[in-house]
Symmetry: C2
Subunit: 206 residues, 2 copies
DNA sequence: GCACAATAGTTCCGCTTTGTCACAAACCTC
DNA sequence: GAGGTTTGTGACAAAGCGGAACTATTGTGC
């Protein structure tokens, strides 16, 4: 059981999680591998194979129970509990992230929001107020935070990344276009919609 | 030359593009496959192999010229020109997207921003003003837009997707957590940071 | 109760992609 | 010219994935 999943399997399970979460919100209580396939463009046989590696979650002739499968996948990914994350940057993007229900839906709690601009420090955001970035290290320690989200302009991103690393954060989600230099034990996920878009465009053109 | 790249190769080329764009901004004019590897976690041999499929862009013992390689990859991905996209939703997320330099950097022009709230229609945003969503179809036709970005709450996302499809858009970037039903000839890219985060967390936990 | 349709679970095989090692060729510096 | 560096490239192993085929189970309609 201690075996780590391969990257591919874990990525696919995450996609299933996304689909199931939405399916549940739409009031579905059952779903077939074919339906998941339609939404994810992942082969239906592959989906059944993935799931059957961990147990027999479905009913033949019927499909999968949405709630049950959600619970099983969360168990496999070991992401059932609550996770605290820190958000740096309370500008438009930071506000958009803080006010989105998307994290809470998956048990992720934005435990604190930081900025360095005195103008915005103290303003209410999400369920708390914007804090001075100098408090980052203390808060990370207090709340056992291992994930930081960077929502600041590119020019300030490296500085924020350094502060996060210094505070002990191990996973960074970078919403600026900057490349970040971090120690090898820190994971960086950089989101770049423009590059994804170019990629999508390539496959659109005949 | 008419051969389509495989998904994997195109995805990797996009990553290289991202790294090169940033490397250029940082003032580098040369870069080695090993450096690209450090930033992308893609095997250096793989990178050289990917590039050498299309020509000999590097200099042995030296590395790649950043500007030259940028141009070559853009040529391969056929994304040299300007592309017009439509953004739907002028809330916080829409404003964040509209004010980000990230698209312009890659030749992508946010040609129009739409919303349905009369309160925000007419407000300046980016280089234009927010337009009524009823104008979507006309604008898509006028400006030859094939990409739409959805930045509205999940509850309204399907409605917006329908309008985009009706207007003739073929690629949709969905920043809501909703699953979208679209015809098979329309590509949907749904961004879900929370699910990505769970995925990252899985690999962080020993 | 029985036939039938739907769907999960499972196996096998082959293709494609990726990773690794190895090494020659070209280039820069001294 | 020597030596170190980096690309370009070949051969091969390993992994991942897709498809087809089949069985098993469940629900439905007669």
């Amino acid at each position: 059981m201690g075996d780590r999943l391969t990257v591919g399997v874990a990525a696919r399970l995450s996609r299933y999680l996304q689909v199931l979460t939405q399916a549940k919100k739409m009031g579905k209580d059952r779903i077939s591998s074919q339906e998941i396939s339609d939404y994810t463009n992942i082969n239906a046989t592959q989906i059944r194979r993935d799931l059957s590696t961990f147990g027999k979650f479905g009913k033949r002739g019927v499909g999968y129970n949405v709630d049950g499968l959600l619970a099983e996948i969360r168990k496999i990914l070991r992401t059932q509990g609550q996770h605290n994350i820190a958000l740096i940057g309370a500008g438009r993007l930071g506000q958009a992230i803080a006010s989105s229900p998307i994290f809470a839906e998956h048990g992720i709690n934005i435990a604190a929001v930081f900025d360095r601009d005195p103008e915005v420090i103290g303003r209410p955001i999400g369920t708390g107020v914007v804090q001075d970035v100098s408090r980052l290290k203390d808060v990370v320690r207090e709340k056992n935070i291992i994930v930081g989200v960077i929502a600041v302009p590119a020019a300030a991103a490296q500085e924020v990344a350094d502060a996060l690393v210094d505070a002990g954060v191990k996973i960074i989600f970078n919403y600026s276009e900057a490349l970040l230099d971090v120690p090898p034990d820190v994971q960086v996920h950089t989101s770049n919609p423009a590059v994804e878009l170019l990629h999508a465009l390539y496959f659109h053109l005949a």
